[in-house]
Symmetry: C2
Subunit: 537 residues, 2 copies
């Protein structure tokens, strides 16, 4: 199937020269993904302005096209820039990358869809705004808006991205502009300060759905605190997960700890520090218990490893940190601020220069990017873990080059992301379920649990595989399928998913998805926006 010429002309007429592409190289590129599935688009359009998006939507209605909006197309592990089915037109919003406002007093930024984490973070620092972003581990080139409307999360006090957005601009399937919250009142003063507006709140409706194209959002930014403490903890015991989860939930529910807290198992920690130990394991793609133990020692990694941070004044941070240490008694807990991390790095640098093996400080190399994330500084470092199962992991000791796109590498990545009540019991049940299924399919379960709010964890399981290996890719697909189904059946529904997950979400027929479909039919009768995305068609 190719795009009819008049439709192609219609799209091209909406756009500047060169912003409507349908050459096969472009279609190939957008048709690749880091996952074990991908779809091929009919065309790719690259609007620069909202008005162009409105025109594109009108052309789509006239010609019966399906449009699939992406912000930067870096929805890695959930299908990248690929639509849920072939023959959709990718609306790539990466050229709509203006930062429209930064409000220093009220701490927010108004940004277009294509604004990346790296871009905003840089501007905030360069302009000495005194404001911090919350960044995800998806790297500097990932879109903020794209992540937010997928309900992604980061590492700081503003880790829940949907909870810190305030006002959206949406191109509806009619081409009309919807401003959510108070935004539709021309003079509204609090449009970026109070998220609900008055009357029904539409923001939640347009996330993880296909009711419109979100072209702009406002996000809240943290004021740089007077004092900051990033803390890192590890526990060498495999059975320490429930204890850690229960203690950290208590700290969060008491309001003492307000950042997201990430707890990674040893495998997840290895993956961002080292290549897969192909030699040591004799090319076996599951690591033995003995080898895992060796690697833990070598990489200064515990069975469970965590990060979190405290923000405030010197007094409040000191008081909160002593509560964290008290709650995590029996764990190694290290706290760093700019000064102490700098000193530690210098000491280790000095020892290394003297030829002294400072293995106990090995962890420092990995701490810097994590430390940055806890201050909202995005880093490409976490992407290195995507290459875990590749035979060549050329990045682990080097930098990921700017402009690099994971979909153009061998790395296979799919995320499975169940939501889990933040109790030790539930965390262990989920960990066992995942580990069992992964073992069966010959994979090592790379797991992170993130305390995303005061009461729930999001488990992030990295289904890592080598995309150049067809057999392994098939196994990864089977493992993904069984793990996700097992989790849903056990009541651990994912917070987010990619195309193969959508139909699993619809397996229970309920008024919920019926209502979602009914609304879709009403506001997008021609199904022009992302058919098949989340909402059953």
């Amino acid at each position: 199937m190719t795009l009819p010429l008049d439709a192609l002309k219609g799209l091209a007429d909406c756009l500047p020269v060169g912003a409507c592409l349908s050459d096969s190289e472009t279609l190939d590129r957008y048709g690749r993904s880091t996952a074990f599935w991908s779809t091929r688009p009919l065309a790719v359009v690259l609007p620069t302005r909202r008005e162009e998006v409105q025109k594109i939507v009108q052309v789509a209605n006239q010609h019966g096209l399906a449009l699939y909006p992406v912000s930067q197309g870096k929805n890695w592990g959930y299908g990248d820039a690929c639509a849920p089915s072939d023959h959709q037109v990718i609306v790539d919003l990466s050229r709509m990358n203006r930062i429209l406002e930064i409000n220093r007093t009220l701490g927010y930024a108004v940004i277009e869809a294509g604004v990346t984490q790296g871009q905003l973070s840089k501007v905030l620092a360069e302009q000495k705004t005194g404001l911090w972003l919350d960044a995800t581990g998806a790297g500097t080139s990932a879109s903020i808006l794209g992540n937010t409307v997928e309900r992604g999360f980061g590492h700081t006090r503003y880790g829940d991205h949907f909870a810190t957005t305030c006002g959206m601009e949406i191109v509806l399937p009619t081409g009309q502009i919807l401003e959510t919250g108070f935004g539709h009142y021309p003079a509204a003063k609090a449009r970026h300060c109070f998220p609900y507006g008055v009357g029904p709140a539409f923001d939640g409706l347009f996330c993880q759905s296909n009711y419109g194209i979100i072209t702009r959002i406002a996000i809240w930014l943290m004021p740089q605190p007077e004092a900051f403490c990033a803390f890192f903890f590890r526990n060498s015991k495999d059975d320490s997960l429930p204890y850690l989860v229960d203690q950290l939930r208590r700290l969060r529910m008491q309001g003492i700890l307000t950042s997201s807290v990430h707890i990674a198992n040893d495998l997840r920690a290895f993956s961002s520090r080292a290549e897969y130990p192909w030699k040591e394991c004799g090319n076996e793609t599951r690591l033995s218990t003995a080898l895992r133990q060796q690697l833990r020692k070598k990489h200064f990694v515990g069975a469970w490893n965590g990060t979190g941070a405290l923000y405030g004044t010197r007094r409040t941070v000191r008081a909160a940190f002593s509560e964290v240490k008290k709650a995590l008694r029996g764990n190694l807990v290290l706290g760093f601020n700019d000064r102490s991390l700098g000193v530690a790095e210098k000491v280790v640098g000095g020892l290394t220069a003297l030829g002294i093996n400072a293995s106990a400080f090995y962890g420092l190399r990995i701490i810097r990017p994590l430390y940055g994330l806890l201050k909202g500084i995005p880093s490409d470092d976490p992407l290195k873990g995507a290459f875990w199962r590749c035979r060549k992991n050329s990045f682990i000791n080097g930098e990921i080059p700017s402009g690099f796109n994971l979909r153009d590498s061998d790395a296979g990545v799919v995320w499975i992301s169940p939501v889990v009540p933040a109790t030790g019991e539930n965390a262990v049940e989920v960990e066992r379920l995942i580990a069992g299924t992964f073992e069966k399919h010959g994979f090592d379960p790379l797991i992170t649990f993130t305390l995303i709010n005061e009461r729930s964890l999001t488990g992030i399981v990295n289904m890592a595989f080598d995309r150049t290996n067809a057999e392994e890719t098939r196994r990864a697909a089977a493992c993904y399928d069984e793990t996700l189904s097992g989790l849903i059946d056990a009541g651990y529904i994912p917070y987010r998913t990619g195309m193969p997950g959508f139909k699993k979400l619809h397996q229970y027929n309920s008024p919920f998805w019926e209502l979602a479909r009914q609304i879709k039919k009403t506001i997008d009768p021609n199904q022009v926006i992302a058919p098949g995305r989340y909402i059953p068609s």
Copy 2:
């Protein structure tokens, strides 16, 4: 207009005997409100179970009835239990008052629509759950669900009620049951821990709208902290508002202060402490500057008076309180916990018994109920302010009797509630706009500004009048109309409103209200749920 007999029979058949009322005494009672408007219903139905609500909705579809759901009917100041127009059938959910679950580990309660603040607060204490509610000033008999879906707010760290709800059960206009979030997955474990679920989030859509009847919600509860400090501040200078707002916003944005903060002007503070000074002002219904100054001294009240609270451990609360005192330097700031408040009360009691006039401690009498609210203990005390303009305020020195309903008194109350960016400049602009209009109409502006989140204030203006005085009631209506219009035109849109406010919200024709209407038409084609409520019909 009366209800046709077959429709009445249809409704009665859904319900236990005596739960479908259309006698004129009942209709009179439900047809009264504390506002300057009210509407008369066709009938009142009192379901006890969800299944009865489903049947009622079906009968309404068959007979073309309009249903107006109320939880306890205590939407005081916004129209009480009155529908936006005459001839609707009130669905009074007050008999659906079961507390279905209290989860101590994860800190939440699942409650039906009729559960009141007093009821849940009592059960939490009696069962020694160690969990605290967030209560509003609407008194013990107000529904929690009703307040939450109107996006009401309270005083603690969980002051933003919509932000701390997690999972709703809704009877749709078809009679089907919608479970929001993860609730529609039968086995879902995190349904009350993670609010968004997966796919579109509907919760915001069903608040301040008329798309369904919300019969059940889960709300998050605070664990009782190890340490607690309620703080009270006052500033005697009229021009101190901007300073207070800017300092408190900074504390909140830094995450040091996490409770709602309420800042009341002198008039608002008088109204909950004393009767209107009819004698002193010679029956004038605006107080002179000199009299206001006298009353400030007499009642130990500043030009601006505030409350907030800190929750944590002894160490973190102490650290945070010293930051509060530092930020509010130049203000009188008093901090209390259970022990110190008890001691202070004993001392004052002792002095009074000795005949010593402890006027400096006069404020203590008013502190106890406010102190309770900062711990989530509801109180009927704030309702006393409703009688400010009544010739007889029999409650100011006594208790409000249980079962008392404001609509059966002389008190006229309407709230005007603009949302204001939390900057001193905006707060002053709003205060002046309100004061000017109130002066013109012969009213004293009773104002509270609440820091409802890190970036915005909700102004709550008490349009208090004597409902037995027809002339004053007319003036109150005119004052309300002009104030609300003035605020909207200046960009200060209300977070919530009553019937006369709805059409002001629709004055700007925008895709927002068009979309709202389109969704209404789709999911409620017969307009059976609350026609005219928020959504233009």
